[in-house]
Structures are given as structure tokens and as C-alpha cells.
Subunit: 475 residues, 2 copies
């Protein structure tokens, strides 16, 4: 079920069993081994015929492998161990971890390590994971300075050569990906056009961070990352190539449900009852997780406000009260209390420092916990359409017999429907597994980051207080 | 200027130059060396005469030593060092420090070590400091169980023999001390009859702690601690002795301004201008310190409420959100995330524990900071009358010349007034120095305690978080 896109117009010569096609048109390849530079193809109207090989581009195949469950769970403790060990879930050690956290590159390619599993269909992950860094936002202008914009530098690990993109380019990419892959792959929304942050600099930083997060998630996806449009975005050589590529991508007709024809599950058809059960479980899961994520975001927001508002103000007041008392003590006229007053002042200053530390802490830890959950809130939302589309297809297949009896569809149609739906099921399950695997990796990472920063926070304060304590004389 | 209290009625034999006196009357001793078992004394009406030595009890002298400033400040670094080192300010190393803090015994006897000072008059501190422990509150009842009360065990370090006292006994002691010493020594109020604390147990604990604090402060005072009534309270042997002692103390006529006749400054008269300056400085100081203390109490109260209210609730919510997410993850049906879900659950529980720690922390540190400041608020308030009484006496002395010219007082009266006022000045300055020295000790102690507990608090949380972190797999 490979598809091909027509590169150039071709007009059939009558009587030669040829097919007239137009540039951009999507064909289903029926027989690629006709020979003599010809392939047999079918257009969207169902007409079949020969088309010259050079006039079309056969779409890449996205292979889904089914990882069969092998071995006994209870036979071997090691099995469990390997499984429980999320170490094998994450990217390789070389994955660049952005110092600012959150927007860290990560490419899933670990499923091949996991041959002893029954998770079901998984995407075929690339050998070397794609990754990119979004950095160095620069102000540009056009129309003789009348219009200004921000350009971000995007550097993929494959070429290490930066390309520049404006937000609207990311938005263009998002639209293309949604159009082309949206039926099979939930495409998370781009970061909001309006991000909170009163200052332009803060706004740009936040947007960059979120674009980085979005790009990493796209890089991690084995279907997205290998797509022509995504590669164009990351690796175009010059303005001309970019514009040509853009035009081509916009004309791409292999979009929407047609994407399923580019997916090749290396396995027999799935058990439809099991598929439905899995999908239902997943729907329930995403609903619960959505609730959990929203709950955490809610709590986090309240905590953020407290940590940046009233709490540091209180520490500041405590600090001021100590220093104030120290000043009063200094006016006593009583000799020999400089040790006390100095220490009391130092303690007061320490609490003012603590106020600062407390106020700045959420940016260091809670921020990434929030961003990750925010991202997942979006991801969970984007799954909805994909799951619904799949469900509609399943329902249609269920009605196929009735429709065939009513003469509305042919037996061939029914078989085609069944096959396509099966691919959709494979694809959705590969997506579900992709999601879970990423989720485990992401939450493991963000929780560790959060706890590490929290530990650093409490230890820093303890150290500061120790220093303050040392100024007092021992009793 | 020693005084004596009449023990038994004595009727003068006419023509023998004797003086008729009544039990409880206070006399001023004019000549103690008359011989033959007689002393020459003057009663409050100014009448003089001989009184049998056995019929009176010469009051104890409270000596004030003036620590003269010796040595050059800049000559010798060691001088400064000894001075700045509050180590020499506090009680000796044996002072029992109550584990519950706050109500810790402390006796000032360090001034003797401080001979190289110009702080001015200081009380003569006893060789071994008095101290006591208030503990073991027990419910008692009388009237066949109709009335119940709480008895506290008070154990002085001098006898190590506990005596029992009810709150009303402490109150009785307070009234006696106020009556007898109030003109010279600011007597801090007893803890409120109504202490906050909803539960009886909590109430009793709090009252005991505050009674302990009050008793310690009284023990520390060289005049109070050696007084007969205070000694009676601490060391009576049986009910009979207690009742007899009580009656005697209640009949004591050496009260109010007469207390100054029992004080013997071992020094020439003070420079009245300097005295006034010192007093004014002190008044300003107490006013400022009162403001500072109230400020700290205010801030502390707000902080207390946050730490016991909204803050732990937030940590609990964070904990619940983590655990909730973990439960959701457990329903994924995806294998190999038990490490993550277990760790996430543990992290959630850790934040619930942190909530508990946060909520209980103020009782461990802020409490004592608050109690000490609360105590000082009372102390500062009790100084007001003492300072005002002194100021009135000074003003009267200033008017003495005018009054003498107007024939309202005699030259002798003027001299007596001057001498008495001088003793008041000595006494007040000794009190001021006593206050400062205690203040340095107390604040040094309570700040250290606060910081130590705060450090323990932050370290405990950091340790708990480390444990939680260790449950996640390293990336």
C-alpha cells in the first residue's frame, strides 16, 4: 500500500494503458515491478494505469514493528529488572541536556533494546536520534525597519549547521505537520502566540524555550522527524531551497487519511476486540492523566504565587525585624554587645537573602515541572482527534457488512476499508506506545530535576543559616 | 542606712531614751554599736531611741558595686575581646537547659568577671547562681473533689527538694515581690491567667513553660533571689512553715520606697547630670526596643499562621498531586513503569511529610523566639514605673532648694532626700545593667536556638528529598 506523489504532469497516450496524472496528485502504487521504467498506479477516482517512474516520487514507508512478547515474566528476575529500569527508556547518554532544562532534546530509539515485550506495535525508531537546539533569538527587520521580528537559530544535530526561523515559520511547519500527519500522529500545538511575561525579553526567552520543547518532541517522533517537510525546515541550504521546498510542501496531496497508505505494519492484522479494549483503556488513561496534570498545574500555580509573593515578603520582614532589633541594641550604650548585634544583623541579612532565594526558586524547579505538565496537557488534548478518527473508522468497518448487503460498497471496498483501518489501529497503538514511553522518560526526568533543585534549595538555605549561626558566640 | 523590721512589740520605759515600737514596723538603724544588746533607731515619724537588738531583725543589705573603668580600651586587644565575647555574659556551664527550650535557667553572676568595665553600678551577684525547675504539673482537688486545680513542682538547685505550688501561689508571690521590690526592681507580670491553647493539656504546658521562664528570671535577680519571701516560696519545709512564712510576708512593712533603705551602694554619690542622661538614653532604648520587639512579634505571628496554615496545606496538595499522577500512571497498562510510579508515590508521600514538618516547625523554633520577645515586651513595660518613680525623685531633689527656702523642708530633709535619690539612681542603673546583660544573654541564646532549629528543619527536608530522589532511576 505504498503511495506516490506526482512530480510533473503526465498525459496518457491513448490505448497504451497509461494514466493521465497532474503534479502534486497522490497515487496508490499497485505494482512497482512492471519494468521498463513504469509503475502501475491508481488515482483517487479509482482509475488505474501505467505512469512513468521518473514522474512520481514514491512516498517513504513508515514501518511499524510489532514487538512480540517473548519469555516468561516469572521465569527470570532479570527480565523484570530490565523492564523496571527506566534507564533503558530514555535517550542515549549523548542527548544534549539544555542547562535551562525543560527544553531538552530526547530521541526515542530504545524500543529496539526492548525485544522482550508485549507492548504491541511500536514505530521503527531511527538508528541515530534526531535532535536540535533552538537558540540565539535575534531581532531582524524588514521594509526598511518598519517591521521587526525575532529570528531563532535552529541547529539540528545531523548537520550542526544553524538555520534561521521566525515564529511564523514554526507555525507554518505546524500547519503542514497537522495537515499531513494529523490523522495518524497527534501533533501538539505550538506554544501560544501570547505567552505570559510582561517584558519582551522574558517573552522571547519563554517562547524560545517552548519552541525548543516542541521541536524536541517533533524530533523525537520517528514519523515526523523523517518527513520531508520537517527535514526541509531543519536543513535547507538557502532561501531559494527553502521557498521551493515550502511551495512543494504546500502542494503535497498526501495528507489527511492518505498518510495511512505510507505506513507499513510488518505484521498480520490485529485482533479488533483487543484493539478496541486498548483504545478504550487509553482513552480512560488520557482522561485521568489530563485530570491529574490539571490538578498538579493548579496546585503548582498556587504554590508559585505563594513562593514568589507573600512567603519571601515574610522572610524579608523577619530579616528586617532582626536587623531592626540589632540597630536598637546598638544604641543601648551598654558595652560588649557588638558580637550579638553583628550576628543579629548577619542573621537578618541572611533572612533577606533567603527571601530572594525563595522568590527565585520556582523559576528553577517548579517552572520545569509546570512546563512539562503544560506540554502534556496539550499532548493529551491533541490525542483526542486521533483517537476519535480511529474510532469512527472502526465503527465504519463494523457496518461494512450491512453496507455491502445494501449494495453501497463492494467486497473490494470492504477489504480495503478493513486493511486501512487495521493500519490505523497499528499506527494508533504505535502512537500510544510512543506516548507512554516518552511520558515515562519525561516524568522521570522532570521529577528528578525538581527534587534535585529542591534539595539544592533547602541545602543552600541551611548553609546560609549555618554561616549566620557561626557568628553568634557559643553559650 | 540599714533598716530593721520590728519582730515583737516593745514599750519604752520612760526616761531611758528608749523607743516604743510595734511588730512589723520598719525602723532606720542610726547606730548599731550602742552595745549591751541595744541599737539606736528612728521610726517613720522621725522619733529616735534605743530598741532591744533581739526585738528587731536588721534587713539584709543589697550591695551595689560600682565597676570602675580600668585600663585603656585601645591599649589592649584582649580587653575588647573579653568584652565582645558573650560567653562570659551567660550563666555557668551547669545551668540546666530545659529540652523544651525557652524556660531555661540562667543566673547572672558574671559581672565579677567584668572588672574592666565602665558600665557603672551593678548588683553584687551571688557566688552560686540560684535556679529552679518548674515541672510535673499534677491535678489536685479539694472540697471532696468539687474543686480541682493544677499543682506544679518547683525544684530549686540549692536544695534539689521539690515544693508544690498552684498558679495562685505564684500570683501571691508576684504580688509580694511587686509590693516589696517594685520601686527598685521592675517585676515582670506573671503569665496571663488565660493563655491561648484550646486544650487543657496544651494550656497547662504553656502555663508551666511560662511560669518556668518567670521563675528563672526571678532566680537570676540578685535582690529577688535572696529575698526572704522568694526563698520561702522555693524552700519551705512543710505546710506550717509555708503558712507562717506567708503571714509574715504579708505583714512585711519594708515595702515600696522603703526598699531603698536596704540598698547599700559601695560608692560615692553619682553625677546627677550623667544619671539623667543615662536614664534618658535608657528610656529611649526601651521605647525603641519595645517597638522592635512588637514588630518581630507581629511578623512572627503572621509567619506562624502561614507555616501552620496555608503552606503545609499546599505541600500536602503537591504530595497528593504526585501520588494521584502515580496512580493514573499505574493504570496505563504499559509495562515497565513501576520504578517511576513507586518513586512518584514516594515523592508524593515525602511532600506530605514535609507538610507535617512545616506545620510543626514553628513550635520548635519560632515559639521560643516569640516567647522570649513576649517576655521582653512585658519586661520593658514593667520598667516604665520604675523609671518614672526615679524621675519624680530626681525632680523633687531639684526643687529641694526652693522648698527649703520656703521653709517646707529642713536642711536635714534635703540631705536625706539627696541620699535616698542617689540610692535610687544607683539601684536603677544596676537594674539597667542587669537588664542589658540579661538581654544580651537571652537574645544570643534564643537566636542560636532559632537558627539551629531552622538549620535542622531545612536539613531534614533536604534529607527526605534526597531519599525520594534516590528512588528515581538515574538518566
Amino acid at each position: 500500500m505504498a503511495t506516490a506523489q506526482v512530480m510533473y504532469d503526465f498525459t496518457a497516450e491513448p490505448g497504451n494503458n497509461e494514466l493521465t496524472v497532474k503534479e502534486g496528485e497522490i497515487l496508490t502504487i499497485i505494482n512497482q515491478n512492471v519494468g521498463g521504467g513504469w509503475v502501475e498506479a491508481q488515482n483517487s477516482k479509482g482509475e488505474c494505469g501505467l505512469v512513468p517512474e521518473d514522474y512520481i516520487q514514491v512516498s517513504r514507508f513508515f514501518v511499524i514493528r510489532v514487538c512480540a512478547y517473548v519469555g516468561e515474566e516469572d521465569d527470570d528476575g532479570e527480565w523484570d529488572e530490565e523492564w523496571d529500569d527506566s534507564r533503558s527508556t530514555g535517550g542515549d547518554g549523548d542527548t544534549p541536556v539544555d542547562e535551562d532544562g525543560g527544553a531538552t532534546g530526547h530521541n526515542l530509539h530504545s524500543h529496539r533494546k526492548r525485544t522482550l515485550t508485549d507492548v504491541g506495535p511500536v514505530w521503527l525508531y531511527p538508528e541515530s536520534p534526531l535532535d536540535c537546539v533552538v537558540a540565539d533569538p535575534k531581532k531582524g527587520s524588514k521594509l526598511y525597519g518598519l517591521k521587526s521580528y525575532i529570528e531563532y537559530q535552529v541547529t539540528p544535530n545531523t548537520t550542526s549547521r544553524p538555520v534561521n526561523h521566525r515564529y511564523k515559520h514554526f507555525d507554518w511547519l505546524y500547519e503542514r505537520l497537522l495537515e499531513k500527519f494529523g490523522s495518524a500522529v497527534p501533533i501538539p500545538s505550538l506554544p501560544d502566540k501570547q505567552v505570559t511575561g510582561r517584558f519582551e525579553e522574558e517573552f522571547i526567552k519563554m517562547r524560545m524555550e517552548r519552541l525548543q520543547g516542541w521541536m524536541c518532541r517533533m524530533c523525537r517522533h520517528p514519523v515526523i522527524s523523517r518527513s520531508e517537510v520537517f527535514q526541509l525546515f531543519l536543513t535547507y541550504n538557502d532561501e531559494k531551497e527553502w521557498k521551493t521546498g515550502k511551495r512543494k510542501a504546500e502542494k503535497d496531496e498526501c495528507v489527511g487519511p492518505l498518510i495511512f497508505s505510507t505506513i507499513d505494519p510488518e505484521a498480520p492484522e490485529l485482533d479488533s476486540v483487543e484493539v478496541e479494549q486498548r483504545c478504550e483503556l487509553f482513552s480512560k488513561f488520557t482522561k485521568s492523566m489530563d485530570d491529574g496534570v490539571k490538578d498538579l498545574l493548579n496546585v503548582g500555580n498556587i504554590h508559585w504565587k505563594r513562593c514568589t509573593g507573600p512567603l519571601p515578603k515574610e522572610y524579608q520582614k523577619i530579616g528586617k525585624a532582626f536587623q531592626n532589633l540589632s540597630s536598637v541594641f546598638n544604641t543601648s550604650g551598654y558595652q560588649g554587645e557588638t558580637t550579638l548585634t553583628d550576628a543579629l544583623t548577619a542573621a537578618g541579612k541572611t533572612y533577606e537573602e533567603i527571601a530572594q532565594i525563595v522568590a527565585e526558586q520556582p523559576k528553577k524547579d517548579l517552572h520545569f515541572l509546570m512546563e512539562t505538565n503544560q506540554e502534556y496537557k496539550g499532548l493529551l488534548g491533541s490525542f483526542h482527534d486521533t483517537v476519535a478518527g480511529h474510532k469512527a473508522a472502526i465503527d465504519k468497518v463494523k457496518e461494512a457488512d450491512k453496507m455491502m448487503l445494501a449494495g453501497k460498497i463492494t467486497t473490494q471496498d470492504k477489504v480495503t476499508m478493513g486493511k486501512r483501518t487495521s493500519i490505523m489501529s497499528y499506527s494508533l497503538q504505535a502512537e500510544m506506545n510512543h506516548f507512554h514511553s516518552n511520558r515515562i522518560y519525561d516524568y522521570n526526568r522532570v521529577m528528578q530535576h525538581y527534587l534535585e533543585e529542591q534539595i539544592r534549595f533547602y541545602e543552600t538555605i541551611a548553609d546560609k543559616l549555618k554561616l549566620a549561626l557561626s557568628q553568634f558566640t557559643t553559650l
